[in-house]
Amino acid sequence: MLTSSPISSLPKPLSLIAEVTHRCPLHCLYCSNPLELKRAEDELPTADWKRVFEQAASLGILHLHLTGGEPLARKDLAELIDTAHRAGLYVNMITSGVGLTRERLGELVEAGLEHLQLSFQDLDETTANHIAGTRAHAIKLALVPVLKEFPLAFTVNLVVHRMNLDRLESFIGLAEELEPDRLEIAHVQYYGWALKNRSLLMPTQEQVDRSLPVIEAAKARLKGKIHLESVFPDYFGSFPKACVGGWGRQMMLIDPTGQALPCHSAAIIPGLRFDKVQDHDLGWIWESSAAFQRFRGDSWMPETCLACPRKEKDFGGCRCQAFLLTGDAQAIDPVCRYSPDHHLLTELRLPSDDVLPIWRG
């Protein structure tokens, strides 16, 4: 992967996540989008997105990740992709596939879409639809052969949690039959809506332990055919993840209304003010926006982190998680074994069986 700059110097952003809309036909139990979704009438207009993509390319950003909500809900999607591609960005799209016809996909690929990611909620239709809160599973399966008609990289993303982790082997089997170029096994991240369903979705220690050799075996079996990437569930770890590659270090996210955020859920942290792409260009935001400065580098770190050599690897972990679990965004990420709050995770990992799912409206 790309070499990193020292933690203290101003790094160069590599990827831009564009949440072009929060509208979505799915209502996944594990949705990590904010509790308060942005409304369609507040969405950034076409011209603003196009300008943002051009600015991103001149800043040296390599990747654009179109996501949402469901990016297909934007009627101007092909036009946005065309602009991004012409500016030199590599265009990825994360989609539910709902409503994606062969004709529309053709337009998007023609415009410059290079990689499409489709996630699956389970291998069995009934449970998959239950988790997605809508009947999307069959639609996704039917889309796969259509994707193969186009020169497009295709990733299958399996979202795993307590309700499906015991079936991981067959779940991977389903993914193999779909013959993607890449396969991602992603544990639910407990932010946004997913946090509401945490006690329902949190796997048990036994499930996690059993899943690891299954994943290793699949990696070995698929080597050279399907590239498998898996993300270890950080609630079960001893050291934090390098969340978003470090705050204000590699990526920026633009929400549907044009606010620039250093990560997916930064808006939950009290006191952060986000600048808008309508008011500033991306280069200014990257360098000077207070929200991007807030946890950049190591000057904000508690003494334990400051003195820890791991700070060059995990950049102090996840600020949102620190806030969600301890109430202090500046605290040591509780995933870290050196956090005085590490015991909180032991308690959160204990599943409770009598909880009911909550779907977002």
Binding site: M1, L2, L62, H63, H115, D181, R182, G224, I226, H227
Partner: protein
Amino acid sequence: MQLNDTPRLAPGCRLHPTESVLLIPEGALNLRGPAREILQQLDGKRTVEDVVQELLKQYAGAPADDIRKDVVDLLERMQGHGVVRA
């Protein structure tokens, strides 16, 4: 990777137009030395040996066996990343 294999870049992988970077889904790989020159020759028709011969023209005097080993090593590493297909 065999010398008569005809590798190509995996779908969705392409060289950055100007920099020594291979763009791949969700990421990028920094390329060093002649890696870019090797990867840009891959088209699913040229064999690994063809690529070696082409490099030998550019690096006249370099021992062929060393180049052969470097090319195969690079391609196998890239195959391991899932960005090159034999």
